[in-house]
Subunit: 223 residues, 2 copies
Amino acid sequence: MKVITIVSGGMDSAVLATHLAERKYEQHLLSFNYGQRHVKELEYAFYLSAKLACQYDVVDLTSLKRLLAGSALTDNIVVPDGHYTDESMKATIVPNRNAIMLSIAYAVAVAENASYVAYGAHAGDHAIYPDCRPSFVERFQAMEHVAAGSTILLKTPFLYLTKADIVKEGHRLGVDFAATWSCYKGGEIHCGTCGTCVERREAFHLAGVEDPTTYQVVEDVHS
Amino acid sequence: MKVITIVSGGMDSAVLATHLAERKYEQHLLSFNYGQRHVKELEYAFYLSAKLACQYDVVDLTSLKRLLAGSALTDNIVVPDGHYTDESMKATIVPNRNAIMLSIAYAVAVAENASYVAYGAHAGDHAIYPDCRPSFVERFQAMEHVAAGSTILLKTPFLYLTKADIVKEGHRLGVDFAATWSCYKGGEIHCGTCGTCVERREAFHLAGVEDPTTYQVVEDVHS
């Protein structure tokens, strides 16, 4: 059974692809370059594909960057520090991003006769990202059932897991977390203070798994 | 009220944008370059935007071309001749195309605080293209209601009209049909024999409107 798996180079997608590899799915990994500030995450996605010996492609959506002004992920706006669920993190939302990525992944799935499209939506994202919620997953699948005229299903094994649960699953699978990238600032090393860095550190802490990441700033996020 | 209107350079989108302009909507026209053989249609879309004095952008999706092998629209497969509704025309389907284009248009709509996304789906396309059917329109809108967390609506004024009805509406609006492109072969002039050319000629004939198009082959399609 073939799966088109959307991967970003972050922890969630590394665990997702490794989880699916363990279940012997044939995977085609797909990343998206939408002009994100942290485009270096794609190097980690490439590394993941090499490690899992999967087909890998990057879809170039950089022509959208100018059109989708207003997101801290793609513009010269300062990436906010603080907790991921803070109001300020809403600035990092690229509008409608998952619908765009999933639509393209479905097109590839049709072209390649794949049975599934997978992405790493999880419970920790539900609050901020509507396109990671179960209701979105249901409706997207219902839409594609008509659009692609097919029975390609959306695979979201982490939909009801927390990020800490994902760390635990990755630990069990032996995922090389040091070779994943989360930081939205896209510097030389993880900043340790932006929303995704705080979330990453917290997930390791809650999972009780050693965090192999080198952060620029490492004051205790749990104080 | 602002509308993001998807235009191809063909008849349907020219009539759609002119129809919306008559109703005084502010429009941002959006075209997609997915490596289509008939990419020259985009010149006609640009002309339309100039004529209506609308903002116009082309989204570059050419990186999808290699991934979506198998469609006569983008590959070096021979474009089939014959009637549009023939089985052979299914070869011209780019998988999931409308879901991809609409998802991107919704992202632009969110970024620009637009109220609507419009596209030229019509009854003549229902048979072949599932992503032009009312059930698709309903489900796409339901999905976006969650994804974009918004009340942006999908505007499809021609959903229950035939292509001949659209020609009549364009005629009433004074649309310059000579400055629209349909032919999937993308040659110097319309071939007159591919599915879309046959459909175009038939629509003018059924509407009782003079067809200003120069075709390479003009044997009677109605014999």
